[in-house]
Amino acid sequence: MNQRRVAITGLGLVSPYGGDLADFFTRLCAGQSAVGHLLTEDVPRPLSMPFVTSPGFDPAVALGKPLAGMMDRYAQFGMAAAFSAWDDAGFPRQTGHECRNDWGVAWGTALGGTMAYEHGYRELWQRGRERLSPLTVVLGMNNGANAHMSIQFGLGGVSMSHTVACASSAIAIGEAFRRVRSGEATVMLTGGSDVPQAYGVARAWEALRVMAPGDAETSPFACRPFSADRRGLVLGEGGAALVLEDWDHAVARGARIHGEIVGYGTTCDHSHLVRPEAEGQIRAIRLTLADAGLTPADIDYVNAHGTATAEGDPVEIAALKAVFGDGAERLAVSGTKSMHGHMLGASAAIEAIVTVLALRDKAIPPTAHLDQLDPACIGVDHVTAARTGQPLRAALSNSFAFGGSNAVLAFRAVSQ
């Protein structure tokens, strides 16, 4: 089969720091945490937890009032990130003379429009209303974000959403990659978005006992992947988008190419809903390397899933050690959730962007707050302070979800 190369020509996100993409990566490399403290006014008991919000994000400004009003907050984050990535790719928003009927969207979201339905429940059960706004259905549906993107950019090809918990956007990006590589699509817009602060959702996560504690003062340091004193994960809201494009199409139009996506592999542990297994992760990493035509020796950086849960972190390191063997000790690994938190369906997309920027800018962002490494996580080269001027060739981004779904993406640097 004649496979096409796949260029990454657009990157965009709603930065939890409030600035642009360059500012986001600079702060990440500086080890600056975007984690704050969320305190709501919910009845009967307010939410109070470390959380990553984007307080500066104003949907009416980013999208315009009419469009913002037709979307749940998860789709607003997604659409804002998508506009930013689309502009970055240099495409006009409206279809001109070119036909976009084989261009599509693959979007990741774990929760979709949960907020819209929660709003509905409040109206019915707390305020005693008997009916709901007719827009609730289109706000709540999980494919709302990708549907809006297809409309905004005139994309006539596939428009789909992927719901695979924490691996949602890794699988969305992987499936988008395959469509461009096979020639089915010339351009695929992909990524993910989620807003996990729905009252019922956040309370449910608390009940699982995997959330790091923290108050207004300690929240910025609450998420400590691979650290001996880690206490769990920190949720956050976010959206991140990438434009994947047929390499020749990108070159022909003189597009700036940030990096190349070269491999994707996905597996299932098929053993337990929430307890990860190294074996399934090992298979996913090996599938990805084989798909990319790379060997472990070609990989210079891994952006870890690294959620800072007691069980998850050591299993991921065990998987890396199994795949990389003697080379594992020289393998640079960092968990950037320590700074941008776990954005569920947006996580893999924001981490894919981090990985691409690391390759492009030759800089590895650190795992923040990693002062005392857990002995169970020893065996790779943990990056605890940013490394710049690194001649990185290729890198992986891991995403390992509840449900046992594993997805790994491989990227290669492009000579500038």
Binding site: A60, G64, K65, P66, G69, M70, R131, S133, P134, L135, V138
Partner: protein
């Protein structure tokens, strides 16, 4: 012309349309009211005046048509 205020508030709030553009001759579609927004506007109206619109109601095309439709229903409900 009781309902013009409701329509102006709604269009300003949801679509950012300036009230002075919401005049009887203006086509609703031109102001950004598509079929979904129309449903939402009807919903707000029903809520505010405790009336129930018939399901096979013919969709108004202009602001003026919408106003006469709504004012008629308000008058009926007050009888």
């Amino acid at each position: 012309m009781e309902s013009i205020g409701l329509i102006r508030d709604f269009l300003k709030d949801r679509l950012g349309v300036e009230p002075e553009n919401v005049v009887p001759d203006a086509a609703l579609a031109a102001l950004g009211v598509d079929s979904l927004m129309m449903l939402e506007l009807m919903f707000e109206f029903e809520d505010r005046y405790s009336v129930k619109l018939s399901r096979d109601l013919k969709s108004p095309r202009t602001v003026g048509e919408m106003v006469s439709l709504m004012d008629g229903l308000i008058a009926q409900s007050k009888r």
